[in-house]
Amino acid sequence: MDDLRKRARELLEIRAVNVVIGYEQGTSGRKRAFFAEKPEDAEKLVFDSTCIQNLASYVTKREIRDKGKIAITATLPVMRSIIQLASEHQVDDNNLLVLGITSESRLIEFSNLAEMETFVHQYQIEIDARHREKLEKLEKMTPAERWKFWIDELTPCFKCYACRAACPMCYCQRCTVDFNQPQWIPVPSHQLGNLEWHIMRAVHLAGRCVDCDACYNACPLGIPLNLLTKKMVEDAKSHFGGYQPVLNGEHLMSTYKPDDKDNFIE
């Protein structure tokens, strides 16, 4: 990724941006977020297929935002996240420069978000075959089996909220789970509270989740949370023809069609 390093160095040298968000070598072969602020920092930037953390979570973080103009290394899911964030008025086009990285690891710099949107829209959000198979397996179970599956999976959750922290779409200053008037979701980690928390999170992400798997990758207990959001992606497709994050336009769940089909309302 010499292109990326070179471009990052240039951007920092000419002060076109104050920080370039990218990846650096982490512990034990992991790659982690890195914030290059000086031209020489650019040398530390790396990129390969193990760069899986969704860096878009940082663009809404106060201490990063305060730095002013930001450039961000963005794979397709990160680009999608940025579009969704922009459409929710969480990022400012004038303060964000996207250094896109294509699936062939090619650097592609976008002069504005609209240009990036055009690029992103060539690709649909698609659940991969392995996960689709998992979803289908679950769907074939009886409701009682599914209930057991999820209670078993969610019981270990100790509510560290790593899933929420790692998700770029969970940028709320105060999450529903943090409100206590009313207390929508119990504070302690226990079976009921865990179930309610994960349902709440999945529904809040319906039509917004870009299927980046950040929540699942963040979970220190390996709970397959992404199956819930993937299910929402699949449902959006089967009921409403799917969705794409768009800069301008309606969001899947804040709009409707008079002829939306249901088969359960009497």
């Binding site: 509510k159 560290c160 790593a162 922290a165 119990p186 980690s189």
Partner: protein, 341 residues
């Protein structure tokens, strides 16, 4: 304080496990799930994982559960009837397969729960736990127990510590407490006399990476340093590090109402959450993540040794393994020690 040393063969471990199970104790041991190993109640020896360097979650839950009842209440027409926590409800537990760092963590928790006010709930749990420790033959780059005052064969906190003497070898059993002796008593036929053995050669090599006393002195001077912001830029502000930590003990107290009755519970909390210190008025003493990250480090390596005479870290490295953003504790501590004041 080793009371006794014995040998137990590799094949006898299962028998020992079964004896303990028959002794009507609940056994918590490392069991894998979704690729992560955690302490779970099990009654099947075959289910226990052995190949792990470290479990994803620490064993602290057995003495300090994530959510535990303090009291029950029931509102009736005469007012409220309240029933306190019942020590009788706490089961006898064997913690099997605990690494020396985790065992040491239990004693650090004890320091927190027993300075000044004595926490009866914690102490009851602690009194009913027998810790069967397993020394470490392997370590990874996250491990730094030797810098935190422990070691791969450290006996502190274990009732009995087992060290495997080479791959596929027998185990050296160091009996460290009365509870440890009790195990040997009920399974005496499994233990053989020990031919004076030195376990050191069978332990993992964990080099000392920093001097915690020096670090502590340094920390007193760098409260205002820019290093906190620099280090914590990557931090996402979740509670993963605190929740897997064997010594993190910050908690919340919450009421769980269900109609007219319910319970008051104490549950884990983390200084990394922005809401941890938020006042009702909206004022927040620790507004940004760098302040919260600083609090975490300061609390463990400066405030706790100051107030409780123990460091709040055992060097198990879990926080770094669990961190979704790869905030590496060891790396940060070393850089603090090297940083300018």
């Amino acid at each position: 304080m080793i009371i006794d040393k014995w040998l137990i063969s590799k094949d006898s471990l299962e028998k020992l496990f079964n004896v303990l199970k028959k002794d009507s104790k609940k056994i918590y041991a490392p069991v894998g799930r979704n690729g992560k190993i955690s302490f779970r109640e099990t009654d099947r020896f075959g289910e226990i994982d052995t190949g792990y360097i470290q479990t994803a979650q620490s064993s602290k839950e057995v003495v300090f559960p994530r959510t535990e009842k303090i009291l029950d209440y029931n509102k009736n027409k005469d007012g409220v009837s309240v029933k306190g926590f019942d020590p009788g409800s706490i089961p006898e537990v064997v913690l099997w397969g605990v690494r020396p760092c985790d065992a040491m963590g239990i004693w650090k928790l004890s320091a927190i729960f027993n300075w000044d006010f004595k926490d009866e709930i914690f102490n009851t749990r602690l009194s009913r736990v027998t810790v069967v420790g397993f020394s470490c033959a392997r370590a990874d780059e996250y491990c730094f127990c030797t810098s935190a005052g422990g070691g791969p064969g450290n006996t502190e906190g274990s009732d009995i510590l087992l060290t495997q003497l080479g791959e596929n070898g027998d185990y050296l059993a160091e009996i460290l407490t009365e509870k440890g002796s009790a195990i040997v008593t009920i399974a005496s036929e499994l233990f053989r006399e020990n031919t004076v053995l030195n376990k050191e050669q069978f332990l993992a090599d964990v080099p000392v990476r920093f001097d915690r006393e020096e670090l502590r002195v340094k920390l007193e001077k760098i409260f205002e340093s820019g290093c906190w912001t620099k280090q914590s830029l990557r931090c996402l502000g979740c509670g993963a590090c605190a929740y897997v930590c064997p010594t993190c003990a910050c908690f919340d107290i919450q009421d769980e109402a269900h109609g007219g009755s319910g319970m008051r519970v104490r549950c884990w909390d983390s200084c990394g959450f922005s809401l941890f210190t938020l006042h009702t008025s909206g004022h927040n003493p620790r507004e940004v993540q760098s302040q919260r990250w600083r609090q975490r480090i300061m609390h463990k390596f400066s405030y706790m040794p100051d107030r409780l005479s123990v460091y709040g870290c055992t060097g198990c490295g879990r926080c770094s393994r669990a961190c979704p953003a790869d905030m590496n504790m060891l790396e940060h501590l070393i850089s603090i020690q090297e940083a300018e004041a």
